[in-house]
Symmetry: none
Subunit: 218 residues, 2 copies
């Protein structure tokens, strides 16, 4: 199990803390503002009111022991940059920082952020992908090119056959890792397992091939 530290509890940081907790992960939530910390006291595993620009604070947190450090300090660009620099210098393994502007993002890159998030830009893209898909119920991008997606089989051309006959691997370069049939989930589907109308397939593969399958389904 990995552990997470979230520094800066604005809308982004708070959302990260709440989602991590929802998925039963251990998370430390830190902010300079007492109210924001208190709001998450019963949500996060651990909380702290502190200025993350202070090296002593970060050392005291053993910031290098966290698998992921997420920096959600927004408006105060200087605090965001300084915190990122110090956190990386102190040995944090993987730092994700939220950027206010493209230039801010480039600075965060320079001071060592492993990943920079641009909320408006990234959500715009995600939203469009959801809009354009017809049968994709949800997706998680595993990398820039590969995605895991849940696709509903609403087309009888794709139903009432087994995985070998459906042959998504050959036709779409997709790996079916689960078949959802009503409430049941078959997580190690065999080639002989049947796909019924309205089943949901969890597939893994290239983003464009997933889209292709989505388009092929009426």
């Amino acid at each position: 199990k990995k552990n997470y530290a979230v520094l800066g509890l604005g809308r982004f940081g708070e959302s990260v803390v709440r989602t991590l907790t929802e998925f039963h992960q251990d998370v430390l939530a830190v902010d300079i503002d007492e109210e924001r910390v208190n709001a998450l006291m019963d949500v996060a595993t651990q909380t702290l009111i502190a200025d993350t620009q202070e090296e002593a604070v970060l050392k005291g947190l053993n910031i290098d022991t966290f698998d992921f450090v997420i920096i959600g300090i927004g408006n105060n660009m200087e605090a965001s940059i300084m915190t990122t620099l110090l956190v990386k210098e102190l040995g944090a393994k993987w730092v994700i920082a939220k950027a206010e502007t493209a230039a801010h993002g480039r600075v965060l890159d320079r001071v060592g952020a492993d990943q920079v998030i641009f909320p408006e830009r990234d959500i715009g893209r995600n939203m469009v992908r959801k809009l354009l898909s017809n049968h994709i119920l949800s997706f998680i991008d595993l990398s820039p090119d590969y995605t895991l997606a849940e696709i509903e089989i609403t087309d009888s051309n794709f139903a009432n056959q087994n995985l070998l006959e459906l042959n998504l691997r050959q036709k779409f370069d997709l790996n079916v890792i689960a078949i959802h049939h009503g409430k049941m989930v078959n997580i190690t589907p065999k080639p002989t397992d049947m796909v019924h109308l309205n089943d949901i397939l969890t597939v893994v593969g290239p983003v464009d091939r997933v889209q292709e399958l989505d388009d092929a389904i009426k």
Copy 2:
């Protein structure tokens, strides 16, 4: 093919226009700021410099003919709210609006937005799900008996053969969903793909069978 109108070309609106274009969709891009419109002149199908709070402008655009209207007016909450109201009153089919704050979002709901986007909050959630995607199946209704595990192949009895020869499905009821070879990850492994010594396999299957494989590897 559907058509899209994007009103307000900040970072969110611009990202929506660029992504729609990338996926070969028809998009009209509108903003009150000439520079922002010009920046997307060669990207969007059609552009217009206009104040979207003016009913005459929206009527002239035949806003009711678009399948989706996306309102990316941010900072100017009044313009965002007014534009949303007018666009819905004029018969727009589906309106997605970006909100600055939770309260702003509630107002947008009231004036008819079909969908409200909260970039920081939504991206925080998406980002966590991506981080956790190595525990992919926590997002699928995982039966308590199944698990996902990463197993390093340190035993030459399990190496230098392909997945078909390794036959983990028959021997351990396990589905190999990825092969990690050094820095490379093969996320759609074929039966003919090789497993080399010290590769890491991502497998899915019954908890006890995963343990069995783990024990079998010296």
